[in-house]
Amino acid sequence: MNFSKELKTGVLIVCTIALGIYGLNYLKGYDLFSTSDEYYAIYPDANGLLESNPILINGMHVGKIQRINFVDDNSGRVIVKFILTNTEFKIPNDSRALMASLDLLGAKGIRIMPGTSATYLQDGDTLATGTEDGMVDRLSKELIPTKQKAEHLISSIDSTLQQLNKVLNGGGSASLQQILINLSKTTSDVNDLLASEKTRLNHIFANAESITLNLRNNQDNLTAIMKNAALMTDSLAKSNLKSTIANADKSLAELTKTLNQINSGKGTLGKLIKDDTLYNNLNTSAKDLDKLFIDIKEHPSRYVNFSIFGGKKESK
């Protein structure tokens, strides 16, 4: 077989490129020749998780992390894409992907806690997440607040002791003694009081108890009342109270204006009230009417001409 040099060169180049791509992907964690499933998990914080960190199920290494990116929504959360090369174990869909520390040095990984569901995750699904504290994490998480509390406590004890010292040194010990004596007396008084009033106190407590009992028994009613009240306020709030009030306000303002006009004697009503011409006129008219009626009474024939039968009769 006699290949040309060009052909040999071409074969070498193409084979090497293929080999290089395969090898590079293999080292990066993709095996081009094995089937694998992809899954996703979203965490608020990558927390040192790296690409190619392992995925474990019950301690079995089943895959690795392929890529870690920020979630698209700019929330700062990270989405972890991982592939499982060992797909014998089907993952129930209520499983959780816990971020875990794998050793003392802090190497991270994802531990899948299998759920109990009978339906299984499909290629490309996203798992529920959580965090599993490593030993070091747990220690530091618990130690730090404790330490802060202790520091705080120690400083307040210190200041208290200082105050106390001051009180004790500044001749306060005598008054302190007096206070203690008074306190003792007060407590004995209280004791006496309690002894003498014991029955009454008992009575009070019993009453209080029955009140609370009643309250509890009527809890349903109370709830209903409260509900009604709430309902009412709600509907009040909902009704057009505001606009109504505004309208009323406006009407009143109009009314005030009108009354003012009336008061000042403008318009018909104003004239009616302020101007007595009409009254005078009416009065004169009434008097005239009066006179007319008297005249009519005295001389009805002047005004009434009955003609029941026959034709018209000249009055005179």
């Binding site: 040309s4 040999k8 060169t9 070498l12 590079l24 080292l27 964690g29 190619s52 290494h61």
Partner: protein, 250 residues
Amino acid sequence: MSTISNYLYNIGKYGIFMKRVFSKPEKWGMYKRQFFIEVDSLAIGSLGIVAFISIFMGAVITLQSAFGFESPWIPLYAVGVASRDTIILELSPTIISLILAGKVGSSIASEMGTMRVTEQLDALEIMGVNSAAYMTLPKILACTIMFPFLITISMFLAILGGWIFGVLSGAVSSYEYIYGITHNFKVFNVYYSLIKSFIFAFLISSVSSFYGYYTKGGAVEVAQSSTKAVVYISVLILVFNYILTQLLLV
């Protein structure tokens, strides 16, 4: 003083030689034909030794790492990590380049030297051919283009060899080795070492051509210039290895 000026003289001469080498070819077709001849003899002809050395180098580095890491504090997959990084960063680009410097460098230098001594280069010049360019440019191109491919094959085979012999000898389990070689892998390391091998290939082909081209005398001088070429190339590879590491990795 004289040695320093001698070095400077040679560097200048090398620079002028390179200028001649990279002048416009008389006829691309002839250079292309020569290029494939060189690829065949320099790169494809070196495949066997590169493959052989890579596999055994990978095996030895894996066994040695496994031997050195026998501590309960260090996880066994560290063997894979250490083998992978040593192979990709240093063994494949640098050691294989040194071996190619011996093989390819001496072959180029002695071929060119013999052509000089038997007046074949003069014959080219008389014909009106730029002998420096015609003889050297195809070699430089063949080496710089093909050696990164050889180094890629070498990396692949060395890691494969580490796996085969590591597992066969029981030094490391297959799972741990594979976990190790894929653990925290940085792709840039591969690019870095391909850049290195490209520059080493240029050094090997150009420096050996340079020493061969300026051979004077007979068989003894041809032997001397090929020895000189290999020595200087090895020194230059190590110096440039340091410089490139400093520039690219630190």
